[in-house]
C-alpha cells in the first residue's frame, strides 16, 4: 500500500477512494514523561474508512485528539486539504469540517436528542447574533432549514421515538447513536469516531456498522475510527493503522495488516479485553 497512486485507489468492493485529505507527519506527543505518540505518520484519503487499532494505552485516542485539536503535539505536522495546519483551537478545527464522537460519550445530557443534534449544526448557522436572539429574518429561516436537516438525520439513524427524550435518560447504545447523529449534523468532511461500538451487544454493533457504512456511502464522508472488535474493523475499514506503545507498527489493508508478523506479535496474537 505504500506505493499507492496519489490520485487514489479502488477498493475490493469497487468504491473509488480519492487523494490524501488528512496527513499526520512525524507526530510526537508527550505528557510530562509519558510519550503517548512517538513519531507517527499516516494519511487518510478522501472517501476512505480508516481504522486505528492497538492495545489499551497505545495512543489511539490521543491521535484523534491531535487531529481535532484537543492536544497539540510537541513535534510533527498535520496537513489537511493539502495545506499545513497551524496550531488551532478545537472549535476552529470543527469549522473546517472535522467532527467527532468520544470514547466516553460526551453528549449534552440535559438536552433532548433533537437539541443535541441541532447543536451539532452550530457551524452551519451564520445569521447575525442579534437576528438569532430575536429569531427574526435570516435566523428564523435558518432555524427552520436546520431543523429539517436534523429531522433527516433522525430518520436516517432511526431514532424518531426518542426525539424529545433528554439523552441522559437513554440507554448506552442509543446515546452512542445520538452522538453519531450530532457529529453527522455538521456535514463533516472528516468524521472521527472513538470506539463507536464499545460496550455494545452484537445486534447494536451490527446496526452501528451499517450506519457507518451508509454514512460513508450516502454522504461520501471520510471516516477515521478507533475500534477494538477485530471482526468489525476487518469488515468495514479500507485501511488500518496499528499502534502499540505510541508507535506505529503496521499500516495497510485489513488483509495486509492481519498477515503482518509485527502486528500479530504485538496485538492480534494476544486475545484482547
Amino acid at each position: 500500500m505504500n506505493d499507492m497512486s496519489p490520485d487514489g485507489y479502488t477498493t475490493p468492493d469497487g468504491r473509488q477512494i480519492g487523494g490524501v485529505m488528512m496527513e499526520v507527519k512525524n507526530i510526537t506527543l508527550r505528557f510530562g514523561g509519558v510519550v503517548a505518540i512517538k513519531d507517527i505518520s499516516f494519511d487518510i484519503r478522501e472517501g476512505e474508512i480508516r481504522a486505528i487499532i492497538g492495545p489499551n494505552g497505545a495512543g489511539k485516542s490521543s491521535m484523534l485528539n491531535v487531529i481535532n485539536g484537543f492536544y497539540h503535539p510537541q513535534e510533527g505536522e498535520v496537513w489537511f486539504n493539502g495545506a499545513k495546519r497551524k496550531a488551532m483551537k478545537p472549535h476552529a478545527i470543527a469549522k473546517q469540517g472535522i467532527a467527532r464522537t468520544f470514547q466516553n460519550i460526551a453528549l449534552f445530557k440535559g438536552m433532548s436528542t433533537l437539541d443535541n443534534i441541532m447543536t451539532g449544526r452550530f457551524t452551519k448557522m451564520n445569521a447575525g447574533f442579534w437576528s438569532q436572539c430575536l429569531w427574526k429574518g435570516k435566523a428564523e429561516q435558518e432555524e427552520i432549514e436546520n431543523r429539517e436537516y436534523v429531522e433527516k438525520i433522525i430518520d436516517f439513524l432511526e431514532i424518531q421515538a426518542i426525539r424529545k427524550t433528554p439523552v441522559g435518560r437513554l440507554p448506552y447504545g442509543l446515546q452512542k447513536r445520538v452522538e453519531l447523529g450530532r457529529a453527522l449534523a455538521a456535514e463533516p468532511k472528516l468524521l472521527l469516531l472513538d470506539e463507536p461500538m464499545a460496550g455494545m451487544n452484537v445486534e447494536e454493533k451490527e446496526d452501528m456498522s451499517r450506519f457507518i457504512l451508509d454514512v460513508n456511502d450516502e454522504f461520501g464522508t471520510t471516516i477515521a475510527l478507533i475500534e477494538h472488535d477485530m471482526g468489525v474493523v476487518m469488515d468495514i475499514s479500507d485501511r488500518v493503522v496499528v499502534m502499540d506503545y505510541g508507535r506505529k507498527i503496521g499500516d495497510g489493508t485489513p488483509d495486509v495488516v492481519r498477515a503482518d508478523p509485527a502486528v500479530i506479535d504485538a496485538y492480534l496474537g494476544v486475545a484482547h479485553d
Binding site: 468520544f102 460526551a106 453528549l107 437539541d115 451539532g120 447574533f129 450530532r182
Partner: protein, 334 residues
Amino acid sequence: MSADFLNLLEVAINGLMAGVLYSLVALGFVLIFKASGVFNYAQGVMALFAAQTLVGIQTGQVPFAHLINAIFGTEVHYFGWNVPALLAILFTVLVMILFAWIVVKVILVRLVGQEPIILFMATIGLAYFMEGFGDMMWNSEVKRLDVGIPSGGSFWIEDVTVQWAAEGERYFGMYVDVLDIWATVIAVALVASLAAFAQYTKPGRAMRAVADDPTAALSVGISLNKIWIMVWSLAGFVAIVAGIMWGAKSGVQFSLSLIALKALPVLMLGGFTSISGAIVGGLIIGVGEKLFEYLIGVPFLGGATENWFAYVLALIFLVFRPQGLFGEKIIERV
C-alpha cells in the same frame, strides 16, 4: 376577610416581590457558574457598578473627575447635560458588555483549567477592584437613581383591598409599592426572555451546551471564550436590572453591592446550577423571611430576624437536600 389575614397577605406579597429581586441576583450567579464553573463573587459589585454607571451617564457626570481635577488643577464635575433614561441604560449595557469582554480576555482565559477555588479568589479580587474603580470613576457619594419608574404606595390597591375587610374591622387597605410591582413585572419578563433565549436560539443552545459539557461543545465548533463573554454580558445585564430596582429603592451606595449576600441563601436553597432553582429559591426566601419576621420575629424575638433567617432556612434545607431544590442527587461512585 379579617384584617389579620389581610395584613398577613400584605406581608407575603411584599416578601414575594423582595424575593423576585433576590432571584434576579441569584440568576446572575447561576448563569456564570453554569457556563464557566466560576462562582462570581463580584456579582453584587457588578450591580453597584452598573447603577453608578447608569446614574453617572444619565446626570452627565465627568468620569474620573477627581483624578482629572487633581492632576490638571481643574474643577470639572458635570458636562452639564442630561441623558434620557433609556439611552443611558443602553450605554450602561454597552459598558457591561465591555466589562465582560475584559474579564474574559484578561482574567478567565489565563486561568483555564485552574482549580475552582483559584477562579473564586480571582473574582474576589475583581470585586474589590471594581468597587474601587467604580468609586474612582463616578465618586462614592450616595446618589439618587431615577429612570422614571413610578414609586410610592398604590392607591388603587389600597382602595380595592379596603373593601375586602369584613364589616366593622379597622383596616385601611394594603400598602404595596408601585415600584415593587414594576420590579416584579420587569424581572418576570427578563427571566422569561432569558429562558426563551436559552431554549430556542442558537447562542442560547450553545450556552446550554457549554454548561453541560465544554469538551463536547468545543467539538461541535462552539468557542468557549465567546460563550463566556456572552454569559458575563448577560450577568452584567441582570446586574443592571437589579441595580436599577435596588438603586431606585434605596439609592446608589455601597450597600447595594450587599444584595449579593441575599442571593447566597437563595443559591444554597435552589442549587448553583438551576435557573428554576434560583427563581423559586428567591421567592421562598423573600416570602419566608418577611412572614417569619412578622409572625415570630417581631412578637417573640425582638425583630431584626431578616438578617439571619434566610441563611438559617437555607442551612436547614442544605442539611436535608444538599443538591438544592431541583438538583439531582449526587451518589458517590465507589
